[in-house]
């Protein structure tokens, strides 16, 4: 054990005294599973995410490729996670793209692990559906596909469904800052354009 660690832990124990009172944690707030997961939850998600100045599209799963093509137009360099679903347009799969190659992408299309209706949040979990973190960060335009069945009502619902095994990014709207007069301004270092396509 390092000396610093031993010293700090000894100081903590000394500060707490021999028998510190350990309070119980009252969890009387709305826990995971409290709220009903119905179609209204998907509507709420579309509403809350659009309030962040993200563009929301709602389509049937069969119409997904058409919608993505309509959003992106033609001639763009579009990145996707390796082995991603067929979008019917030319894509560059991320099989270890270099930083320079990521920087040359005009847009990226990925899936998501789940979404939170209450807060308008998309949850990306590093892996084959959401891609690795850099893929959804370096390109300036992120088109994110959200399965309607993956929308949960609340933050506790999302935390209960997630775990520590892979890096997680919670995304609520495009990159923004509140640093100028405490007002939210979109578009700093992350993707400045966020399209959310809710399908199914």
């Amino acid at each position: 054990m390092s000396t610093a660690k031993a010293d700090i832990l000894a100081r903590v124990r000394g500060a707490l005294g021999p028998s510190p009172v350990v309070p119980e944690i009252p969890r009387t707030y709305r826990l995971a599973g409290t709220l009903v997961r119905d179609a209204a939850v998907v509507d709420l998600f579309c509403e809350t995410v659009s309030e962040y100045k993200a563009t929301v599209h709602r389509v049937a799963e069969s119409a997904l490729p058409d919608k993505v093509r309509a959003i992106l137009g033609e001639g763009l360099r579009v990145g996707v996670p390796a082995g991603f679903r067929d979008l019917g347009l030319p894509v560059i799969e991320d099989r270890g793209l270099s930083v320079a190659e990521l920087d040359e992408l005009d847009a990226v299309v990925t899936g998501s692990a789940l979404a939170i209706a209450d807060t308008g949040t998309i949850v990306l979990v590093s892996g084959e559906n959401s891609g690795r973190r850099a893929l959804t960060l370096v390109p300036d335009h992120h088109v994110c596909l959200v399965a309607a069945s993956s929308v949960v009502p609340s933050v506790p619902d999302a935390i209960a469904a997630l775990g520590p095994d892979a890096p997680i990014t919670l995304v609520s709207g495009p990159s923004a800052t509140s640093d100028i007069e405490l007002d939210r301004v979109e578009g700093v270092h992350g993707p400045r354009r966020l399209d959310v396509v809710v399908f199914g």
Binding site: I25, R133, L137, V155, I180, L182, R184, G187
Partner: protein, 458 residues
């Protein structure tokens, strides 16, 4: 300089007062709306408070669990008794990596230990990437004035001018805030993609899983946490949370209390090292830096529950008028007034516990229910007991009072004396006392004398 003296200087800056007044008024209204739409806000606050108190009471266990979990996930955990030790660890990692530049995510813990200056002394430049931190860093004479928005004292036009003179020379940025954000984006983009090492703070560290969380807005955090090869995170020991489930409480309390949003744009959660995704070398530095001294004070220790949302600054009538710089502390506002004197020692900031009108607005908005007014009063008592010389006129007067009240005979004698000479004696002995207070004239006849006159000796 005492808070009162520093406040006299900042109060004369009309521009600063206008800027801060405008920003805090806006955020106060937004916070009310963001909180009002959460029906279980009070139960969430109760849970937040209890989780923090529970964590403090079991801190040794939580820290050892966190260390074990981070290590198991491929990270390296360091312990630092003070800022000098933490800074030395960061500098030695940078030297091994072979970089003379690191990119930084806004971190109050690194400000606390003056990491940028310490790294600079070792020939390593620490580049701030948060917009407000960048604004402060670009002007060598400027200082941070808010926990969340360090450049809150600057308005849009001032920031635009600063950028046109520094990172956007020769350009005209116009009046849109988006042009200012764009200038910062262009300035930092290449750094994000090339600098091999980043330093961050942490909002949470989960003991159960070893997961670290950073909550941010711009994406500069994601850049620093994802792109460099090496990541070093400095975390105060009080930032540990016992369980994964605890995230569901703080990810609801924090964004609505700080930027008054349902959720901040980006939250990153990572556990050690992930092959093929993000930094392949991760260091976590656990910092004491005075925190164990705070923990030793049974009343004052609740200051360690703070999640750095800054809601208490935005509602404080004193902060709104004097601004953050008058506190001369990394942590300004109500939370600074209770945290700084405890972290750095009461003698370092003995006037800060008086930087409050005790109106209680800070307690009402605190997402983890820190009773700031009670801690302020407690610290005032401690300053008087521990820091002020026993020979100050005020201390002598209080001792005299205690003696005078101890027996009836002494009390009556003191009353007679007071009738004769209280005004001139108090004014001479305690000149500061009467500078802003009226001293009531002693009554011509005391209640006891009146009773004796009317009823005889009783």
């Amino acid at each position: 300089m005492s808070f009162q003296s520093a406040a006299k200087v900042t109060l004369k800056d009309a521009q600063l007062r206008r800027n801060i007044g405008k920003a805090t008024t806006l955020i106060r209204e937004k916070r009310l709306r963001a909180v009002a739409e959460v029906p279980d806000w009070e139960p969430l606050r109760d849970a937040g408070e209890a989780i923090k108190a529970h964590t403090m009471a079991t801190l040794p266990e939580q820290l050892e669990k966190l260390e074990a979990a981070v290590t198991a996930a491929g990270g390296v955990v360091h312990w630092a008794r003070d800022g000098a030790e933490a800074n030395a660890i960061v500098a030695s990692i940078a030297k091994r990596v072979g970089t003379d530049e690191v990119i930084k995510v806004k971190s109050l813990a690194t400000d606390e230990i003056e990491m940028n200056e310490a790294l600079e002394a070792e020939g390593i430049h620490a580049l701030e990437t948060d917009l407000a931190e960048l604004i402060v860093q670009l002007n060598p004479e400027d200082k941070q004035s808010h926990i969340l928005v360090p450049a809150i004292h600057r308005n849009r036009a001032e920031i635009r001018t600063l950028f046109e003179q520094t990172i956007a020379q020769g350009q005209s940025l116009g009046n849109e805030a988006s042009a200012i954000a764009e200038a910062a984006r262009l300035h930092l983009r290449n750094k994000f993609l090339t600098v091999p090492m980043a330093v961050s703070g942490a909002n949470f560290g989960i003991a159960e899983t070893g997961t670290i969380g950073v909550v941010e807005s711009e994406g500069n955090g994601r850049m620093c946490l994802t792109m460099p090869r090496v990541l070093v995170t400095l975390m105060g020991i009080e930032k540990v949370l016992p369980a994964w489930q605890d995230l569901e409480v703080f990810l609801q309390l924090l964004p609505r209390s700080s930027t008054a949003e349902r959720m901040n744009p980006y939250t990153s959660l990572w556990t050690g090292v992930r092959p093929g995704d993000g930094p392949q070398e991760f260091h976590l530095i656990l910092l004491d830096g005075g925190r164990t001294n705070v923990l030793a004070d049974e009343v004052g220790r609740a200051a360690l529950h703070c999640i750095r949302c800054s809601a208490c600054l935005n509602v404080c009538p004193v902060y709104e008028r004097v601004g953050g710089q008058a506190y001369e502390s990394v942590y300004p506002g109500p939370i600074g007034a209770i945290l700084t004197p405890q972290l750095n020692g009461l003698g370092s900031a003995p006037s800060l516990p008086w930087a409050s009108s005790l109106c209680g607005a800070c307690y009402e908005v605190c997402p983890v229910k820190i009773d700031i007014p009670s801690i302020l009063i407690h610290l005032r008592g401690r300053v008087v007991r521990e820091e002020k010389s026993r020979l100050t006129p005020e201390a002598l007067a209080m001792k005299g009072m205690a003696a005078a009240f101890s027996t009836r005979r002494r009390y009556e004698a003191a009353q007679r004396l007071a009738k004769l000479g209280r005004g001139p004696i108090v004014k001479a002995a305690l000149p500061g006392w009467t500078a802003m207070r009226d001293l009531p004239e002693p009554p011509k006849e005391t209640f006891r004398d009146w009773w004796k006159r009317e009823h005889g000796e009783g």
